[in-house]
């Protein structure tokens, strides 16, 4: 029984990573109507960045996050300008394959530069745990959980109470109306994409202490994030966060009770079911971005 509680808690905590990845994805999908297939590769790049900051200059991963976030904001702005903006007025398949192309390039760039080896760092606190009622709570996982929740809350306030945030929501609701109200939609798109990418960057830094990095690491995370985004309802940040924690839970539970290899099949099946019966997601209304 204790083990079960332990598994449940560590699953929910790990959901924080999925939350950080899927918040960005749902924001980009909801506002720009774009599926970013390279989203997982941004996570991979963030992991490598954190890894090398640690290996070369002995920077703590959590400190590295302070550098990674603005760096990834710029990275996001740049890739939006070069790759995404030219696809916006073209048929939908163009952006799908441009982002897939970017993901192929980033994956193989990593393979070429860093080889396919699994790399991980060792930080003293990776194994730290708090003991509450006989349950061990792993310190890095707790950090992931808390940051995930804080980011979601922060983003909620940003979207509702700042001018830029309101502009983003207005653009998501009706691009043309927003344009007529004098909102610079192009700029909104650029900022939205950059926010999404910098959240993934943050996720990468927080994940590094307890995970390994390799060129294709992003793929499994982006698949989970797709599931979370759809389950949560397109553009719903709250939905994506709750779905992320649910997936973290389902994943560890099914890995514990059933074969770990089946867990993916399980939540993909759940995913297709949700799509079919609740196309607007478990928590979604028809509105985008809230």
């Amino acid at each position: 029984m204790d083990i079960l509680v332990q598994v449940v808690i560590s699953g929910i905590l790990f959901g924080g990573i999925y939350a950080l990845v899927s918040i960005g994805l749902t924001l980009i999908m909801g506002v720009m109507d774009i599926v970013n297939f390279a989203h997982g590769e941004y996570l991979m790049v963030a992991l490598y960045t954190t890894y090398f900051l640690n290996q070369l200059w002995n920077v703590d991963p959590y400190v590295a996050a302070i550098a990674v976030i603005p760096l990834f904001f710029l990275f996001g702005l740049l890739s939006e300008r070069v790759l995404i903006r030219p696809t916006l007025d073209k048929p939908a398949f163009v952006h799908v394959f441009v982002t897939l192309g970017l993901s192929i390039i980033l994956q193989n760039l990593a393979l070429l530069m860093f080889s396919g080896n699994f790399r991980s760092i060792s930080v003293p606190y990776a194994q730290y745990s708090y003991e509450i009622f006989d349950i061990l709570i792993n310190y890095p996982r707790l950090v992931i959980f808390i940051v995930g929740i804080l980011v979601a809350i922060g983003l909620h306030f940003f979207l509702h109470y700042t001018w830029v945030g309101k502009a983003i929501r207005a653009t998501a609701q009706n691009k043309n109306a927003a344009l007529l109200m004098g909102i610079n939609v192009q700029k909104v798109y650029a900022i939205t994409f950059a926010i999404g990418v910098s959240l993934v960057g943050l996720g990468g830094s927080l994940l590094m202490p307890i995970y390994s990095v390799y060129p294709t690491v992003g793929f499994q995370f982006v698949l989970v994030a797709f599931v979370a985004v759809v389950m949560g309802g397109l553009g719903s940040i709250k939905g994506a966060v709750i779905a992320s924690f649910l997936i973290g839970l389902v994943e560890t539970l099914s890995g514990f009770f059933i074969d770990p290899s089946v867990k993916q099949a399980l939540y993909f099946t759940v995913f297709i079911m949700v799509l079919l019966f609740r196309p607007y997601g478990l928590f979604g209304k028809k509105t985008k971005v809230a």
Partner: protein
């Protein structure tokens, strides 16, 4: 007389094609034969994909599932029940068709991105099932086909036989697409792609048209799986069900020109020899470099020519031949 000359010029592509087919029997280099096999296989896979992906604009990213279902069905029937792959091929294709029908029947209510994501998830589910159902598929260890040569076993000593086999497959797919485009089904699909509401208000049952198309698409894709299994004599989940296959099928169609019967042909001829060539140069020394170049070419083509290279080449070709026709007319 004038007409005849024009006809001769317009039939050049066919003359070249026939000469090319005859030339295959003269090629002894195994490397080139392998390249031709691969290219033609991808003409057919991309062609099968675009029956629903190109004409109806339903962007599936799960077609590897059908390819794998074809490969596994015929191979398992062959290994366990000694069913000839020729029969197994059609059983597998029919099975894939049924699965494709069920998948589409449930997922076609999803529009745009959601359909793509659902098919991507479906492809992964099939991959995971094939990997974890070890008693049936022996998991990632893969299945070794019995090496027993003979026509009935669809196993041949020479690569030429496989090249001709896959050639027939590719021609069937192109021919089907060519005919479909000129029949009711093709018009219905294009009508759906361009404007669903308008099509339905004219009484077109676009749902049924898309179901038909995706069933046929899955059917044809699965045939490729069997041919591939017979060619390599070994299948594993990562070789017949990878997500890269699901990505490359639309990719080849897009580069060649979406929604045209010959698009996949252009796409495959442009992409596959190139990627094999790049892999040959950089594969061993700079692991990954060939895929980086591949990705760059993909992005450049998409951003500069989203309708694909096929139409551009065709336009160029017509310009050349058109000019020649005029010259002949002037001199005659």
């Amino acid at each position: 007389m004038k007409l005849d000359k024009g006809k001769i010029i317009n039939s050049w592509p066919f003359v070249i094609a026939i000469l090319g087919i005859l030339a295959i029997s003269k090629i002894e280099n195994q490397y080139y034969l392998g390249m031709i096999f691969n290219t033609l296989l991808w003409v057919a896979i991309a062609g099968s994909w675009q029956i629903v992906g190109g004409y109806a604009g339903e962007f599936s990213l799960g077609h590897a599932a059908f390819f794998g279902i074809g490969a596994y069905t015929s191979t398992l029937l062959y290994i366990h029940f000694s069913v000839s792959p020729w029969i197994g091929m059609f059983i597998g294709a029919a099975f894939a068709g049924i699965i494709g029908f069920l998948l589409s029947w449930t997922c076609f209510r999803l529009r745009g991105h959601f359909f793509t994501l659902a098919t991507l998830a479906f492809g992964q589910v099939v991959l995971i099932i094939a990997t974890s159902w070890r008693s049936l598929t022996s998991g990632s260890e893969g299945l070794l086909l019995p090496i027993k040569m003979g026509f009935w076993q669809m196993s041949f000593e020479s690569k030429h036989a496989y090249v001709y086999l896959v050639l027939i497959y590719a021609i069937s797919v192109i021919l089907f697409t060519y005919v479909m485009e000129r029949r009711r089904l093709g018009y219905y699909l294009i009508a759906y792609r361009e404007n669903d509401e308008a099509a339905r208000s004219l009484g077109v049952n676009t749902f049924r048209a898309r179901l038909t198309a995706s069933t046929i698409s899955a059917f044809f894709t699965a045939i490729g799986g069997t041919i591939y299994a017979q060619y390599t004599f070994f299948i594993e989940p990562e070789s017949v069900l990878p997500v890269t296959l699901s990505i490359q099928a639309p990719l080849v169609s897009i580069v060649g020109g979406l929604g045209t019967p010959f698009g996949p042909l252009f796409g495959a001829v442009l992409i596959l020899p190139l990627s094999q060539f790049l892999r040959g140069i950089f594969g061993s020394s700079f692991n990954g470099l060939h895929l980086i170049i591949y990705g760059l070419i993909l992005i450049v083509v998409l951003l500069l020519m989203p309708s694909g290279l096929g139409p551009v080449i065709l336009k160029g070709w017509r310009k050349i031949t058109g000019a020649q026709v005029k010259k002949i007319n002037a001199s005659g």
